[in-house]
């Protein structure tokens, strides 16, 4: 349908288009409620979507490779990035206190939020105290994580996303499918339809239908400019918060971040507690790792350093600056000896760009704010294994993400660790964990939630046959002697997830155990060379 409308742009029935978009939005919402596997299957069957993600992955991998021409230099830089992030985490409580002290001295008001709901409430309170009814937002994943827009809109406050991708996703009533490129799942024609049907200029009229990229961006820019001028408040994220100087660093490409943080009288920055770095000297290396890994840029078009509200005599800038430090499960991650490196993340998205699973199913399949490998690690820890444990199986442990990560987060190891947590025989009630104190090691929320009797019995049976050599040899003998059975339809049906697209594997006539023994290859090592082959004779 979209193709027809796009090619027949002179005669677009706006009402029909709007109806179509409403149906698409309803389908999107329904799909998001379903199981991971259903979403993955739908994505795999969507040719246009797969093409978008495959193209984007190839493009971004190529861009990254081009700005890291020297493997040795890249490796050294990743070592530095890892060291800086680990230094931050090793000193996290103290650095956060120092950050608060220096921000306060700079005139920034600091707030602490333990949960998503608390963070939303704090932000809402700040807005109402200042009679703010309209908000422009710079791109911020943590506000997606705490579902801030939904919270504020339910309370009558208008939130407008000002990053082009976020703006489109908001227009569509969807969620971002990538943490750096939120609308990466949409092609040009889809964006043209969306802008024409749903975007409104300041005088309330529709924007004309166009598939010209410059025109599309020009139309959005005109709408956003007007909103920047009128908004009561700006809400942004933070890429790095410098403890020693009390500076909030914000990386962006469109200038919308700078507008959001300087035009309205009130600026509220929101960040996860892990984003702190100790010193300004840590910023350049993390910045270059971030932009090169994310988009293959040596540096972003804009780099904002926010050090407080407008001072006396200054012409512009907000009158108030607030920082909301969000925990939302991060203390729990911090306390876990194996999963702690999760917090090293600088949110560049390189792991998803390099993930062969993400390249095929796209971001929405994960059903979480953070998709791809980092999403598989972060989301179950923040929102619980019960709800988000299923996505953990969508990983072949191929290691491409870990190899791309600029701060060397061992992502495959963390995914494996979370699988172990998910099937742990010790069940931990999610409710009990969320109210636990932050002092001791805290277990992953919903530990053991994915353990099933069937699967645990299979692994017990597997362990039994592979533990005891005679049992194992009986099994392999049965397999090799009964190899004909593998050709049967029953075998194909039993192995259906494999055999749906692959021929059934054929066991050999004789196992290597048998062949080696028949060949007289020694079974036991004896330092005395006289009788090495005894056990096989």
């Amino acid at each position: 349908m979209s193709q027809k409308i796009a090619s027949d742009s002179m005669h677009i029935n706006i009402e029909q288009l709007q109806q179509e978009l409403n149906v698409e939005q309803r389908e999107f919402n329904e799909l998001q409620q379903r199981h991971f596997k259903v979403r993955a299957k739908m994505a795999l069957e969507n040719e246009a979507l797969r093409k978008s993600f495959r193209g984007a992955s190839d493009f971004l991998m190529g861009k990254r490779k081009a700005v890291f021409p020297d493997e040795g230099a890249l490796s050294a830089l990743r070592d530095r990035g890892e060291a800086i992030r680990q230094h931050s985490l090793a000193n996290l409580p103290e650095l956060l206190e120092r950050l608060e002290k220096n921000l306060t001295a700079n005139g920034v008001q600091v707030h602490w939020a333990e949960t998503a709901d608390e963070a939303c409430t704090i932000i809402h309170d700040i807005l109402t105290a200042n009679n703010a009814r309209t908000v422009v937002k710079g791109k911020s994943m943590v506000t997606e994580e705490i579902e801030l827009n939904h919270f504020l809109e339910a309370r009558g406050i208008e939130c407008l996303e000002s990053d082009m991708g976020e703006y489109l996703v908001q227009l569509a009533g969807e969620t971002p499918s990538h943490i750096i490129m939120p609308a990466i799942h949409k092609n040009k024609a889809q964006i043209a339809r969306l802008m024409h049907a749903r975007a409104q200029t300041s005088d309330g009229s529709q924007v004309p239908y166009t598939e010209d990229v410059d025109e599309l961006i020009g139309n959005a820019r005109a709408i956003l400019r007007d909103k920047f001028m009128r908004a009561d408040a700006g809400i942004s994220g933070v890429n790095m918060a410098v403890a020693n100087t009390g500076t909030l660093c914000l990386v962006e490409n469109e200038g919308n971040g700078r507008m959001t943080t300087t035009m309205p009288k009130l600026h509220i920055a929101v960040t996860g507690i892990e984003k702190v770095v100790e010193d300004f000297s840590h910023v350049p290396e993390l910045l270059t790792l971030l932009t090169r890994s994310a988009t293959g840029q040596k540096i972003s078009t804009y780099f904002n350093m926010i050090s407080g509200p407008k001072k006396a005599g200054e012409l512009d800038g907000p009158e108030q600056v607030h920082l909301v430090l969000v925990d939302n499960g991060r203390s729990r991650i911090f306390s876990h000896p194996v999963l702690k490196p999760t917090l090293q993340c600088i949110r560049c998205g390189a792991c998803m760009n390099h993930c062969p699973v993400y390249a095929r199913v796209g971001g929405h399949a994960y059903g979480s704010t953070y998709p791809g490998p980092i999403g598989q690690v972060v989301t179950p820890q923040i929102a619980g294994l019960e709800k988000h444990g299923d996505m953990l199986s969508a990983c072949s442990l191929n290691g491409a993400c870990g190899e791309a990560c600029p701060v060397r987060i061992p992502l495959p190891e963390l995914i494996r660790e979370l699988r172990a947590e998910a099937v742990s025989p010790q069940f931990t009630d999610a409710a009990a964990v969320s109210t636990a104190t932050a002092t001791a090691v805290q277990e992953v929320m919903g530990r053991g939630a994915k353990r099933t009797l069937g699967e645990s019995l299979i692994w017990r049976g597997w362990a039994l046959t592979h533990r005891f050599a005679p049992l194992y040899r009986i099994m392999t003998t049965a397999m090799t002697r009964g190899r004909g059975l593998f050709r049967s339809k029953a075998a194909a049906a039993l192995l259906s997830p494999w055999t749906d697209s692959r021929s059934t594997p054929q066991p050999a006539r004789r196992s290597l155990h048998e062949l080696a023994k028949a060949r007289g290859v020694a079974g036991q090592y004896q330092n005395n060379t006289a009788d090495k082959r005894g056990d096989n004779a």
Binding site: G72, P356, C395, R416, H466, S503, P505, R519, D535
Partner: protein, 288 residues
């Protein structure tokens, strides 16, 4: 890692290799054991030809990786413990697949951390080598291929598994062995470093995604026009060849060890038209 890397990159992965030992263990892996035993026999022949005594403990089974990657640590440990006992003597262990080598070399120390067998696990990890890693770094086999019996032209697509490439860092070793075979031309499929979609239990738990990845890999390999697919990991071989076979464009596949042995000795199974396992069955009892 490759030779292009500077000292920084190399230092992270640097491994000190022993001189040629008198004897080695062969860790056959469960997949080779039941599905590709000729690869194990070819590796044994190659090692014996180099003058090394090969010990194949009959009590070995599986490294424990399937359970470990699924999060069943206790079951993985129980099976891994059997391997600690099977490979107890202080001699090098040559592992037939990259993924199992990675399990033993990298994961055993973690799996047994704080357990009574921790020291034994660390020791086994330290003396375990992936097949191509051992052949190149200990035996310098890549420098001894010029006299290969079979030098007929052959186009080979080499699929280096993710665990061999990224886990063990032996992509260069794989390549050196195949490229130095006279007459063999190595062709590189598009997106050569991308996962084929096998991933052990992933192929069953996420069958749809795995199949999509396997189909792309099969297409990329078929597009090279190669005559044969070679890999050091039989999971990948089974996955890719099974996909190609189902699509009725079957391609001869071989483990790296089989390609090396049969080229060196001029007994290419795809030319003489017999199954290698049959050949070994017939010869059973003969000494190499």
């Amino acid at each position: 890692m490759t030779q292009h890397n500077t000292t920084v990159a190399a230092s992270r992965h640097q491994r000190v290799y022993p001189p040629k030992p008198e004897a080695v263990y062969l860790l056959g892996t469960c997949l080779v054991d039941s599905f590709y035993p000729e690869a194990g026999m070819d590796a044994i022949a190659l090692l014996q030809h180099a003058g090394i005594e090969v010990i194949f403990p009959q009590s070995q089974s599986c490294c424990g990786q399937p359970a470990y990657n699924s999060g069943y640590d206790e079951q993985a440990r129980a099976v891994a413990r059997t391997q600690l006992q099977a490979f107890a003597a202080d001699i090098p262990v040559v592992v037939m697949m990259g993924s199992c080598a990675g399990m033993v070399h990298k994961e055993y120390p973690k799996l047994f951390a704080g357990q009574p067998e921790e020291a034994a696990a660390i020791a086994l990890a330290a003396r375990s080598y992936e097949f191509s890693e051992f052949m190149v770094n200990v035996l310098q086999l890549e420098q001894q291929l010029a006299q290969a019996e079979d030098q007929s032209p052959l186009t080979v697509a080499l699929h280096t598994s993710c665990s061999a490439r990224r886990g063990m860092g032996v992509a260069a070793e794989h390549k050196a062995l195949v490229e130095n075979l006279p007459g063999v031309q190595v062709v590189e499929p598009e997106r050569v470093a991308e996962c084929c979609g096998f991933g052990g239990t992933f192929a069953v738990k996420q069958g749809d995604i795995s199949a999509a990845m396997a189909a792309d890999k099969a297409n990329a390999i078929a597009a090279t026009g190669c005559q044969r697919l070679v890999s050091g990991d039989c999971g990948c071989l089974m996955n890719i060849s099974g996909t190609l076979d189902r699509q009725e464009r079957a391609l001869p596949v071989q483990h790296l060890a089989s390609l090396l042995y049969t080229r060196l000795n001029g007994n290419d199974p795809f030319q003489v038209g017999q199954k290698r396992s049959q050949q070994y069955n017939k010869k059973s009892g003969d000494k190499a």
